[in-house]
Symmetry: C2
Subunit: 448 residues, 2 copies
Amino acid sequence: MKEYGYLWELALILGSTKMFGLITKKLKMPQVVGALFAGLIFGPAVLGNILSNFNVGGFNLAEFTLRETDFIKMLAEIGVIVLMFNAGLGTDLNELKKCGKSAFLIALLGVLVPLSVGCGFTYWFFKEGWIHSLPGTSTFMQAVFIGVILTATSVSITVETLQEMGKLKTVSGNAILGAAIIDDILGIVALTVITSLGAKGSSGGTGELAFVLIKICMFFVFVMLFGLITSKLFTKWMDRDKKGMHRHVIGAFVICLIMSFLAEFVFGVADITGAFFAGVILSLTHREQFLASKFDVIGYLFLSPIFFASIGMQVDGKQLSHMGIAVVIYAIAITVIAVATKIVGCGLGAKICRYNNYRSLRIGVGMISRGEVALIVANKGIEAGLMPKELVAPIIVMVLFTTIITPIILKPVFLKTGPNAISDQMDSELASTYEKRVVEKKKNILSE
Amino acid sequence: MKEYGYLWELALILGSTKMFGLITKKLKMPQVVGALFAGLIFGPAVLGNILSNFNVGGFNLAEFTLRETDFIKMLAEIGVIVLMFNAGLGTDLNELKKCGKSAFLIALLGVLVPLSVGCGFTYWFFKEGWIHSLPGTSTFMQAVFIGVILTATSVSITVETLQEMGKLKTVSGNAILGAAIIDDILGIVALTVITSLGAKGSSGGTGELAFVLIKICMFFVFVMLFGLITSKLFTKWMDRDKKGMHRHVIGAFVICLIMSFLAEFVFGVADITGAFFAGVILSLTHREQFLASKFDVIGYLFLSPIFFASIGMQVDGKQLSHMGIAVVIYAIAITVIAVATKIVGCGLGAKICRYNNYRSLRIGVGMISRGEVALIVANKGIEAGLMPKELVAPIIVMVLFTTIITPIILKPVFLKTGPNAISDQMDSELASTYEKRVVEKKKNILSE
């Protein structure tokens, strides 16, 4: 295939993720599901494995399937950075202030329960030797990392389902939306801490630990100072012209890349954390919609499909068959844990905030689905040497299952008439802004 | 700098090309000039060379300058493919039919004269041993390749200048526009033939030569058949939805990538030739503006700056100082040849078509400037082993000089009142469509 094989690979990635995405869309599932399947089917997990036994005209047919080259890996990494930057651009700090204490408590328990149970179970699994943890980093850290992956809720599928059912503007719907915003922030903080600690190696004495924590604090101080200055200067610069201009979009990208770089280079923090906060900072310019619309184009047309497919590509059919039953058991267990801990964690949080049983269950179910962010975090873990590659398949299973199951469970839970069935409707500002945003997003990211 | 150094490099490329581009724009020069300078100044030619002598905190400062990594090289290559695809999308086959015989003759001589003189001079320069041709490919082929680089006219700067002067809708302006369209096609054909022949090695007996030529013919047959079917199917597909959709843009990109791949893999033709004709095929859908607007975004925001900077990066300060005087002489000579042969070639063509002396001179001067395409072809030559890397600097000098000088010479030549000064104005359909397109382009590619 020589050096221009990457042209074929790009064509195959873009074509297959879109085709599968359109199919999953018809089946009322997010297009991400289709993109993942494309990576699985055209990658080493299925076709790569099968076709490696065939040779035609001097070419091994597996050469025409998807493989994770360095080039694809780096493009996927930039894809993640752009995804996180866009997520940051979509964060509304004012909205965050409006979320009440109850949203905070629901999110906090919805993070802590999956984190601790996921970590505990994985640690036990490693210790029993059923799956080997990576050498070089402490087993405990790797278990914590899996816990962090389990924390990231992706409510867009919930919001769409509730919207269809006309149940978004309810007490439970409002609580889900509020908790999801906080969940994002808590998730990124957890990721920041774990990658920093993990990157510093497993030996970590208390002195080193303190040093890492100081660096993380310094990073957040830097974000605040840099954010204050940059958001003001950037707003001034953009306000010189009424129309958005190319220079502004490029300027925004430069800020995103520099913050990603500095996060890693100076503070030892994950680059995607830097990208996310670059987005948050630029969301303060009030031109974030214009900026996001441009980054959406390089996202959907080029970088995002590569990222989602690359996750699917990391599953290797041969490797899986060597691992066998242990991986299957782990996949089932971690999926059950992912579902149960969100229901229990968020539900418990809601219960403490005096939501009744029905609403607490609804809120818990609404937070089940994991999406892009879980994949992004998992990808980071593989790169940082914090997660064995065999666990990619279980994580994909978990993401797919939680995404597919959420709308299915949501319906009976929300349609069942409890004692508060009628009084449940409420005006929700959060729901209104969210509805708008989902419509926007549907127009843009990996849709259509 | 470790593995996240590329984040810094991307930030530096995007930031510096835009900044320099805005400066050159203020100086009434195309932004490509600025982007090239950015690559020169922040690359190995200037800063990389200087900073390599300094170390700070365990880092050699040259690590923070631009360097042509494999990643940058491949992104630049995709950038070129997108540029050529967009050029193809901008080609209007109907317009081509309207160009008369005179436009054809002007373009043909405007291609043949620079090609033969550039080739002859370079061959002599190689033979005298002042600059060494690459081993492995015939010296003559390499000389022909330089000739091909000299053929590519880029009239956008001429059109802008004539527009400002109100001289675009003149007999000479119309001839320039017509000839430029033909020039593009002749240039791409010349490139196709030379890269195919060159890639087959220098030994090339007549049997092999015939084989290569048959493959090229088959490529053009393939383009026509594939084009007929694809353009119809694609139009039908797009017409199902009134609005343009993501799937259409992705579909277009997939066609572009597959044609680029097949061009190399099956027909031994340059990938950018495939990309160009993919664009031409999709221009028949009559939605080419929608498609082009999306590819413009990944162009200006990501890929094009990387390509232009990467050309500048290929100039190495240390290498140049070793070569010394020979490269300088070659740069001056090839620049003079570039200017003179276009004036003589196109002017001669015009003269044969019975344009008077004034108009022939105007037409010749209008065709002087070389731009993106010359750089794209040069880049291809380095990749294909058809051009020694030392010649990048002279080619850049040639492109910069012809681009800067064209508007300067155009003014006196067009303002001087000849015997036909008044009757020169004419209604020109070509000029009208071109004016529109330049306005569009100014909105998009590397502008603002």
